[in-house]
Amino acid sequence: MIADNDPPLSFLLNRIKERALECGGFASTPRGDYRPEATCWGILALPSDPANHDLIQRARDRLAAGQLPDGRVCLSPDHPEAYWPTSLAVFAWHRSPEHRQNQARAAQFLLTSGGEHSRVRADSSVGHNTALQGWSWIAGTHSWVEPTGLAMMALKIAGHGRHARVQEGARLLLDRQLPQGGWNYGNTMVFGQVLRPMPLSSGIALNALKDQTQGEAIQPSLTYLKSRVISLNTPRSLGWSLLGLAAWQARPGQARRQIDNCLKSQEKYGSYDTSSLALLAVALQSPGGLEDIFSVREKS
């Protein structure tokens, strides 16, 4: 594990801590308001040492205060349909004895919710298997690659790795893998044309498929992402690509330098949002994919 006095990591952790709110949780931007997804990512990024303990627990409490009775965690109480932060909340509450019930209810919500699916039609304009059910970003919409990958990872760490829904999620991800390797948001072919892969979606899918499939099934995607990651310089794509490759022991040797360069780009783009900073911090600390962040911390 990288020590948190390591320059890029300490920079990231300090920026994240600056966004912690008095009333618990994290804002997405400096002086911004509470955001559940920023809070989940902030909790995940910060090492659970005594110096961070209170801050992390208050953030977890704030997240718990916003959890709805059915277990979902939404972007805001006015928008219960925007439930995609639930998967992230499962991670944020992981290994917190005080929040065991919250995590169990969130996982239960994921097991009982899912994206819309329909029988496969012979005249369908899309190439993927629409009958497979994964997870959607927003209630009442189709299953897509990224929310499916995030929900699978969340259910795996919550102890549901062998659940039929996780297995169906894995089948969905393999079905949505592009013939040339990689994934995009979730369409493989539309009106007979094969679409292009995207590094962020590919990183999430690869990470989610760790321990769910054999290496040969995802080999074209590993090849795609290994060549694509070299040119990445933006936090969301770089962070998830590194985690996706790390999950299959294929993290590139220049990962640290790339994260360094990506942080320097803030001079051009302005400071990154909390989720992006935290994603880079997690990618820096976790050599074996997102779930590995917990075992790395246990060992340290």
Binding site: S28, G32, D33, E37, L75, D78, H79, E81, A82, W84, E116, S125, S136, W137, I138, G140, T141, H142, W144, E146, N184, Y185, V190, F191, G192, Q193, L195, R196, M198, P199, L200, S201, L232, N233, T234, P235, R236, S237, K268, Y269, G270, D273
Partner: protein, 343 residues
């Protein structure tokens, strides 16, 4: 002998109407009244009188700011109207593919528009987008070449997918959406300018200044892709967004557009034009004609009559003559949304 059966006193009125006659007459009357209420505003609405401007622009090396300023003059966009205002430019950033200049609004058009508004005295120009396919907006910004150009002039960029939000009741009622959730940045600007790309679209038929506004809807509330809008009806959602936002100006990049399987997998179509105007249905109808498409056959345009005109009689054409720049964009029979668009 009278063989006629005796009338049933319970069901026949004194004038000889049965209860069934009353029911049929009543329903017929109600249907006619409903049809009248539906057609009346369509037939007897006041005539529109909107202007659109077409400029020939051979390629992206041209002085695009000068072309847009010429369009402003023709369309009566004066410095007094722009001075001191905050302008939001919303390009069409979808995906990047090395060498492909027909997918996204070209950076030169975004830059040219920014320069034109600043020249007229805008207090600030910001560029903002919430892409529907790629959750890493910075990646698109960087790989499209837009980041470099904006950086040179320190023009800020806002990722609308992750912005703070506000919600309003959906007063347009074209789709099934009860409310619309918009990025807070839209409330902080005076003008919203749609910087669209001239493209065919495999679900909507075409994607022009109005469909481009799907990109203002935050992905955090509508998903990637913005599937909530698809489930609520693409055509209705396009109209609801324009109804709620009432955007001020449209510029469509048709210097190199896209034909065939748009909006991402089609072929480049050099049309050599910029199309501009204040009224969005008028701009999109002009673009459609330019592409060899009958606007009335495009569902969202056919239903746009409360927002603006699509009839040639109600659109004053400035700049280039439409016939001089018209070029048929390829439509594909296998795509249902393309069928019958030629008129």
């Amino acid at each position: 002998m009278n063989t006629k059966p005796a009338p049933d006193k319970k069901t026949v009125s004194r004038k000889g109407f049965t209860r069934r006659d009353f029911l049929i007459t009543g329903l017929g009357g109600a249907a006619l009244a409903g049809l009248g209420l539906y057609l009346w505003p369509k037939i007897f609405r006041p005539r529109w009188h909107e202007q659109t401007f077409i400029a020939k622009v051979p390629d992206y090396r041209a002085d695009i700011a000068a072309v847009i300023l010429a369009g402003f003059r023709e369309l009566g966009v004066s410095p007094a109207e722009i001075r001191g205002n905050r302008i939001l430019l919303k390009p069409n950033l979808v995906e990047t593919n090395p060498g492909a200049i027909h997918i996204n609004t070209h950076p030169a058009v975004v830059y040219g528009a920014a320069q034109a508004f600043l020249k007229l005295g805008a207090a600030q120009v910001i560029v903002a987008e919430g892409p529907g396919h790629c959750r890493d907006t910075l990646l698109l910004l960087e790989e499209s070449g837009l980041a470099g150009l904006l950086g040179e002039d320190r023009i800020p960029f806002i990722d609308l997918n992750y912005d703070d939000v506000y919600s309003v009741k959906n007063l347009g009622r074209y789709s099934t959406l009860p409310r619309l959730t918009f990025p807070a940045t839209l409330k902080q600007v005076d003008w919203v300018v749609s910087l669209a790309k001239l493209k065919t679209h495999h679900w909507a038929g075409v994607t022009l200044s109005m469909k481009n506004l799907f990109g203002v809807m935050p992905g955090t509330y509508y998903g990637w892709p913005k599937n909530v809008l698809h489930y609520a009806g693409i055509d209705g959602s396009i109209l609801d967004i324009v109804w709620a936002l009432r955007p001020q100006f449209a510029i469509v990049d048709g210097i190199v557009g896209m034909e065939g399987d748009g909006p991402i997998m089609g072929a480049p179509k050099p049309a050599g034009v910029l199309v501009m105007g204040r009224n969005f249905p008028a701009v999109d109808a002009t673009c459609a004609r330019l592409m060899g498409i009958e606007p009335r056959r495009v569902r969202y345009l056919a239903d746009a009559w409360r927002l603006g005109p699509i009839s040639e009689k109600e659109i004053v054409q400035l700049g280039e003559n439409l016939a001089a720049v018209q070029t048929k964009f390829q439509l594909l029979e296998k795509i249902p949304a393309h069928r019958g668009l030629r008129g």
